[in-house]
C-alpha cells in the first residue's frame, strides 16, 4: 500500500472521518462493556448521566476539566511547533509548589494571587527550558528528558511533603500546610462548587488563540512546526521560537497545578494530579491542537472520567475503562486526521 495526498479534501471527509473516530471509540466502549458483562447500551447512558445528569455532576465535570484545559493548551502550543513536551505533569507540580510557597503566609492580599500565578508560570517555564536548550544546543531528544523529569519532580514533591512543606497538623498524611484564605481562588458563583480557575482556563485559551492567529510569534510557531528547515531558510530564528514556545507551554502547564491548589484543594499532596499532564496530550490531539477546541475536548475528556466513575459504581465495569477509551480515541483520531489528507492506494 502507498499513501497519496489528496489535493482538496471534501468537507465531508474533513469532518466525517474525525466524527467516525469518535463513533468507533463508542463502539470500543460497548465492546468493553460486553467483556465486563454489562449492558453495552446502558453504560453509554450511565456515563453520560454521570457526567452531565445533575447540577452536581456538571460542576464536577467542569472542575475536572479545568486542569485539563491548562495542560491541553500547554501540549497544543508545544506540539504545534513540533516541540514534544511530555513533561506537563512535572510542570504542573512546579506550579503547585509555587502556589504553596507563596500562598502560606509569605504574601498577603491582594498581591498573593497574581504574584503566585506569575511565579508558577515562571517555575513551569524554567522546568521546560532545560530540555529545550538541550534539544536546540545538543540535539538531546526532549521526549525522553521531559518524561524522566516527571519522575524526578514527583520524588521532589514527595520530599517537600515529608520535609520542608509538611503539614504539622496533617495527621501523618503527606500533604502541605494549607493555603491562607487570601491565597485561595474564590468561587465563580457563590454557593456553587466551581472556582475561578475554570474561567481563567478559558481566558488562557482565548489568549493562546489570539497569540496563534494574530501575532508574529504564532506565525513563527506554525512555520517552525511545519518545516523547520524552510523556516530557518526564510530567516526565522528557529531556536529562539522553540524557546519562546517552551516558556509559553511550561507556563500554561504550571497554571494547571497552581489552580488545582489555589482553587480546588487548598494544599499540595502527591496525588494532586492523576496524570493530568499525560491526559493533556489526548485533550490537545482530540482538539486538533486548536486552543479553543481544547476547551471543548477537555470538558469531553473530563466528562468521560467523571461519568465512568459513576458508571463504574452502578454497573461494576472497572473505572479504568475511561483511560482505555481515551487512549483509543487518541489513536483513532490521529489515524482519522491523516486519512483526511491522504488516501491509501495499492502498489
Amino acid at each position: 500500500m502507498r499513501l497519496e495526498p489528496i489535493a482538496n479534501p471534501s468537507p465531508a471527509r474533513r469532518l466525517g472521518l474525525p466524527a467516525l473516530a469518535l463513533v468507533a471509540t463508542l463502539g470500543v466502549a460497548m465492546l468493553l462493556a460486553l467483556v465486563a458483562g454489562a449492558n453495552p447500551f446502558a453504560i453509554l447512558g450511565q456515563i453520560a448521566t454521570g457526567a452531565l445528569g445533575s447540577k452536581l455532576a456538571i460542576l464536577e465535570t467542569l472542575n475536572r476539566a479545568t486542569p485539563l484545559i491548562f495542560t491541553g493548551l500547554a501540549i497544543a502550543v508545544a506540539f504545534r511547533a513540533k516541540l514534544w513536551n511530555i513533561g506537563a505533569e512535572a510542570q504542573l507540580y512546579a506550579g503547585a509548589i509555587m502556589a504553596v510557597v507563596l500562598g502560606t503566609g509569605a504574601l498577603g492580599s491582594p498581591l498573593v494571587l497574581p504574584v503566585s500565578a506569575l511565579a508558577a508560570m515562571l517555575a513551569g517555564a524554567a522546568l521546560l527550558l532545560g530540555p529545550v536548550l538541550l534539544k536546540t544546543r545538543l540535539g538531546v531528544d526532549e521526549v525522553v528528558t521531559t518524561l524522566l523529569l516527571n519522575f524526578i519532580m514527583l520524588l521532589f514533591v514527595s520530599y517537600l511533603l515529608e520535609g520542608p512543606m509538611k503539614d504539622p497538623m496533617g495527621m501523618g498524611w503527606p500533604k502541605s500546610t494549607p493555603l491562607i484564605p487570601e491565597a485561595r481562588l474564590p468561587r465563580l458563583v457563590e454557593g456553587l462548587r466551581l472556582h475561578w480557575g475554570f474561567a481563567l482556563a478559558i481566558i488562557a485559551a482565548v489568549i493562546v488563540w489570539v497569540i496563534q492567529t494574530r501575532t508574529t510569534l504564532g506565525f513563527e510557531i506554525r512555520a517552525v512546526g511545519q518545516n523547520p528547515e524552510a523556516a530557518r531558510f526564510a530567516g526565522m530564528p528557529v531556536n529562539a521560537v522553540m524557546v519562546k514556545t517552551a516558556l509559553l507551554s511550561g507556563g500554561l502547564a504550571a497554571l494547571a497545578g497552581w489552580s488545582e491548589v489555589a482553587g480546588l484543594k487548598g494544599h499540595l499532596s502527591s496525588d494532586l494530579s492523576p496524570g493530568f499532564g499525560y491526559t493533556g496530550i489526548i485533550v490537545a490531539m482530540l482538539a486538533l491542537l486548536h486552543p479553543l477546541g481544547v476547551v471543548v475536548t477537555a470538558i469531553f475528556v473530563a466528562g468521560i472520567f467523571v461519568g465512568s466513575d459513576a458508571m463504574s459504581r452502578a454497573a461494576g465495569v472497572p473505572t479504568y475503562i475511561a483511560d482505555m477509551l481515551l487512549a483509543t480515541a487518541l489513536l483513532f483520531m490521529v489515524l482519522a486526521i491523516l486519512l483526511t489528507k491522504v488516501r491509501v492506494v495499492r502498489g
Partner: protein
C-alpha cells in the same frame, strides 16, 4: 567511603546488579531493534506493563512459568503490531502513537486486572523463577554468589542480547534491518519490503519489551502492581542512546545503570542515607539517565532514517 567499598566488594551487591540489569537488557534490546529499523517505539513503557501483567496472570491461572513468558511475549507483539501498523504503513507521528500505545497498554492492564480480580486488595502471589544451580561455577567462592546464582530468565536476557548482536551484524536479515534504518530507499531498490522489515522489527522488539516487563513479575517479584514498571521503559529508551544503538554497549550501559541503582538502595541504609532524603537516592536513576543522554549527545551515531516514515514512490 569505606562503606561504599564494603558494598562494592560484597557478592550480594553484584548479584543484585545482574538481577536489576536483566529486565533493562531485555527491553533495551527490544527498543534497539525498533530504532535500528528506523522506528522510535515509545510504547515501551506500556508494553512492559502489559508483559508484566499478562505473564503474571497466565502463571496465576495455572500456566507454567515459561508459558507465562510466552504469553507476555505474544501480548507485547500484539501491541507492537498496533504500533507498527500506525507508524509504518500510515507513517503517523512516532511520538504521538508511541505515547498512545503506552496509555492504551497501561489502561488495558489496569482494566483487565480489575475485571479479573474485582475484590482483591493485595495482588495474589505466584511461585516465581528460582535461581539456577550451576555446577562447579556456582560453588566458586564469591563469584558463585555474585555471578552464578541467577534465574533462567536472567540467563535468557544475556542470551537474547548475544542473539540480537549476532543477528544484526552477522546475518543478511540483520543487515537488511540496519539498512532500513539508514537508507530505506536503497533497501526498496534491492527488492526488499521496507514496510515488512520495519513492522517485523517493531513487533519482535515489542515482544522483547514485554518479556522485560514479565521479568519483574515472574522473576524479580512475585506479584503484579500497577506502578511496578515505574519509568523503566523510558530509562531503556535512554539506554539505547547511551549505548550508541549498539547491543554490546547497551548491555554495558544497562549493567552500569543497574550498579548505580543497586548502590543507591544500599546507600540508603548507611550514614549517608541518614543525612540525605531517600527521594534523592530514588531519583538517581532518572538523573543519571538524563546525564547519560547529555554525555552521549555529541557523538551519538543515530540511525539516519530514525523517525522518518517511508512512503513508496516519494522522495
Amino acid at each position: 567511603m569505606s562503606e561504599i567499598v564494603d558494598i562494592l566488594i560484597s557478592a550480594s551487591f553484584w548479584a543484585a546488579v545482574i538481577r536489576i540489569a536483566s529486565p533493562l537488557i531485555l527491553a533495551t534490546m527490544g527498543e534497539l531493534i525498533c530504532e535500528r529499523a528506523g522506528v522510535l517505539n515509545l510504547g515501551i513503557e506500556g508494553i512492559m506493563v502489559i508483559g508484566a501483567f499478562t505473564g503474571w496472570m497466565a502463571v496465576y491461572q495455572g500456566m507454567p512459568l515459561w508459558g507465562g513468558v510466552a504469553v507476555a511475549m505474544g501480548a507485547g507483539m500484539l501491541f507492537g503490531l498496533l504500533h507498527a501498523t500506525l507508524t509504518v504503513p500510515f507513517g503517523l507521528s512516532q511520538h504521538v502513537v508511541g505515547l498512545g500505545v503506552t496509555l492504551f497498554a497501561t489502561a488495558s492492564a489496569s482494566f483487565a486486572y480489575r475485571l479479573m480480580l474485582p475484590e482483591v486488595t493485595s495482588p495474589p502471589k505466584i511461585e516465581p523463577f528460582q535461581p539456577l544451580e550451576i555446577p562447579v561455577l556456582g560453588d566458586l567462592p564469591w563469584l558463585g554468589e555474585a555471578l552464578f546464582s541467577q534465574t533462567a530468565l536472567t540467563w535468557a536476557a544475556f542470551a537474547v542480547a548475544g542473539l540480537v548482536a549476532f543477528t544484526l551484524y552477522r546475518t543478511p536479515l540483520g543487515l537488511a534491518v540496519r539498512a532500513v534504518g539508514e537508507n530505506p530507499a536503497a533497501v526498496e531498490a534491492q527488492g526488499l519490503s521496507v514496510t515488512g522489515l520495519r513492522m517485523g522489527a517493531v513487533i519482535v522488539g515489542s515482544g522483547l519489551m514485554a518479556v522485560g516487563g514479565a521479568f519483574l513479575t515472574l522473576s524479580a517479584f512475585s506479584s503484579f502492581f500497577f506502578e511496578m514498571v515505574n519509568g523503566r521503559g523510558w530509562i531503556c529508551v535512554a539506554l539505547v542512546v547511551f549505548g550508541a544503538w549498539k547491543p554490546g554497549k547497551a548491555v554495558l550501559g544497562a549493567i552500569l545503570f543497574a550498579a548505580f541503582d543497586a548502590l543507591q538502595i544500599r546507600l540508603q541504609q548507611t550514614d549517608l542515607g541518614a543525612v540525605l532524603p531517600y527521594q534523592l537516592f530514588l531519583a538517581l536513576p532518572f538523573i543519571l539517565s538524563i546525564l547519560a543522554l547529555i554525555l552521549m549527545s555529541r557523538r551519538a551515531e543515530v540511525p539516519a532514517a530514525l523517525m522518518v516514515p517511508y512512503n513508496k514512490g516519494e522522495r
